[in-house]
Symmetry: D2
Subunit: 148 residues, 4 copies
C-alpha cells in the first residue's frame, strides 16, 4: 500500500466543500496510514422512525461511503466515484453523534474496494459496509495509480 | 403475492412522519399492486462534489432504501427494519428532482427482499439497488406474514 | 439497449468451454433481446447440508453470476470480468435441476450491471442477485461499447 | 464476542460432510478466537475462462461464504443459513490451491454478519466479501444466542 499523499487538513477542506457532508457536520478526527476517522454531528432532521427516533439508514450509508472513499483520497489524492456499495445495519442508531472509521481493502488502478464501520457514542458498531470506487477516473492526476 | 393493505395516502402519512424523508421532500405519486413511485425534491444541501454539482450518493442510497421498504409497507402494513442493502450508481445525478420506483423481489415471514430504481428528470436511471428487510419484526401486527 | 450480437448457439459454445460451467451442466435454453435462460443439471456433489440435502449456496451464486454475465455477452460479444456481486438466498434449493434467467440492468462502456433469478423445478425462485461487470475490458474487440 | 464452542476437528467433520465442500477439498488449517483459516485444493474442473485458466468466480464466492459461516459455527455451534452475500473480485485466481480466512463482523441472536478474504499461493488477496447469516435458526440448540 502506498503512503498517504494528503494530510487530514487537506482532506477536511475537500470533505466539507461537499454540501451534504457539511450538512452532516463531518469532521476528520484521525488519519494514519491504515485508517481515517470521521465524526458526524447528529441533527433532528436525521431521524427515521419518529417514535423510536432512530437515525435514518440513508445517513449511516452515506457515512460508510464517505469514510471509505476518503481513505482512498488519502492514498490517491482525491475521492473516487462510488460504483456500488453494500451496507449492513447492525443496531439502531439512537440520537447522538456518530463516528465512522474507513480502511482500504484493495487499492487498484482501475477499481478499488474500501470499507468502513460506524460507531455510536458508546462505541457500539451500528453499521458497516464496503464500496467499490472507480480509481481509474483519477489516473490522469494520480500517476502512481498506473502501477497497481 | 398478497394484495396491498395500505393506500398511498396512508403510506404518505407514515413516509413523512420520518424526519429525513420529509427533509428530502418525499411524495408518493403512484402505487399499484406491483410497484410504488416516490418523488424527491432536490435541494442545494444534497450536492456532493461542488464543482460537478452532482447529488450525493448517500441521498440516492436513501431513496433506494425508502422506495423498496415502502413497497413492503404497502403489502405488510408498515416498513420493516433494513438489515442490509446494495446500491449501484449508474450515472451522475445532476441537480433536479428524482423519482424512485420500488418493487418486491420476495416477501417472506422472517426476511424480505425488495429493490428500487432511481430516475432523473429525463427518465434516465441514475441508481438502483436492493435491500433485505426484517419482516419478522412486523409479525405481531401483521398476522398473514406467518403464512410466508 | 443495443441488439444482441451473439446467438444462443455461439454463446453455448463459449459457456461450456468454461470447465466449471460444463461441470454444472449449463445449457442455454432461451435467449431474446431482454433475457437469457440457462438450465443447470443437478449432481450429488452440489449438496451442502447432507441431512437437508440442499444445494450449496456457492452453486446458486455461480448461476446468478453466469446468467447475468452471459446476457452481457449476448449484447457485448463476450462475457466480461466480474468485479463484484450480491446474491440473495430466498429458499432452500432441494435436489433437482435449476434454471437461471439473466437480464441487464445497465450496459456501460466501462462497467455494466446485470441481474439474475434462479428457479427450481416447481418455478419457485430460490435465489436472485446482481453483479458488476468490467465491460471496459472488452472495448478493443467491441467497438460500439465506446458509445455507452 | 463469546468464546469458541467447537474445535477445528469438530468443525472439519461438519465441513466435509457437505458434499460440495468435500469436492473443493476444504480443510481447516487454523482456528483461534478471531479467525478461521480454510484451504482449498484446486482442480481442473474449477477453471473458468479456458484460455486464461482462471478459477471460476463461483468457487471464490463459495469459499468466502464457507469461511465466514464456519467462523460463526465456531462461536455458535453450527453454520447458519446464508441469507445474502457480497463478493469482491480483486485479482484473477490462477491455477493453484487457495486459502480463505473468515472473521465475524457482528454476532447476533437473529442475524449475524461475517466476512472472509481469499488468498492465492503467493499470499495475494484474490477475493473478499461478507455475508449475512440467519443465526436465529440456531436458537433452539444454541441457548446463549438469545443474549445477543
Amino acid at each position: 500500500m502506498p503512503e498517504n499523499v494528503k494530510t487530514a487538513d487537506e482532506l477536511q477542506t475537500r470533505l466539507v466543500a461537499n454540501h451534504f457532508n457539511e450538512w452532516m457536520g463531518l469532521k476528520i478526527v484521525g488519519l494514519d496510514e491504515d485508517k481515517i476517522e470521521i465524526t458526524m454531528t447528529w441533527r433532528e432532521e436525521m431521524i427515521s422512525n419518529p417514535k423510536a427516533r432512530v437515525t435514518h439508514g440513508g445517513i449511516l450509508g452515506a457515512l460508510v461511503d464517505v469514510a471509505a472513499d476518503f481513505m482512498i483520497a488519502a492514498k490517491a489524492g482525491a475521492p473516487a466515484p462510488t460504483v456500488d456499495m453494500r451496507v449492513d445495519y447492525h443496531r439502531a442508531a439512537m440520537p447522538g453523534d456518530l463516528k465512522a472509521v474507513g480502511r482500504i481493502v484493495r487499492l487498484g488502478g482501475t477499481f478499488s474496494t474500501a470499507e468502513a464501520e460506524v460507531f455510536d457514542g458508546d462505541g457500539k458498531m451500528v453499521a458497516s459496509g464496503r464500496g467499490l470506487y472507480f480509481t481509474g477516473a483519477l489516473k490522469k492526476q494520480v500517476k502512481f495509480l498506473a502501477r497497481f
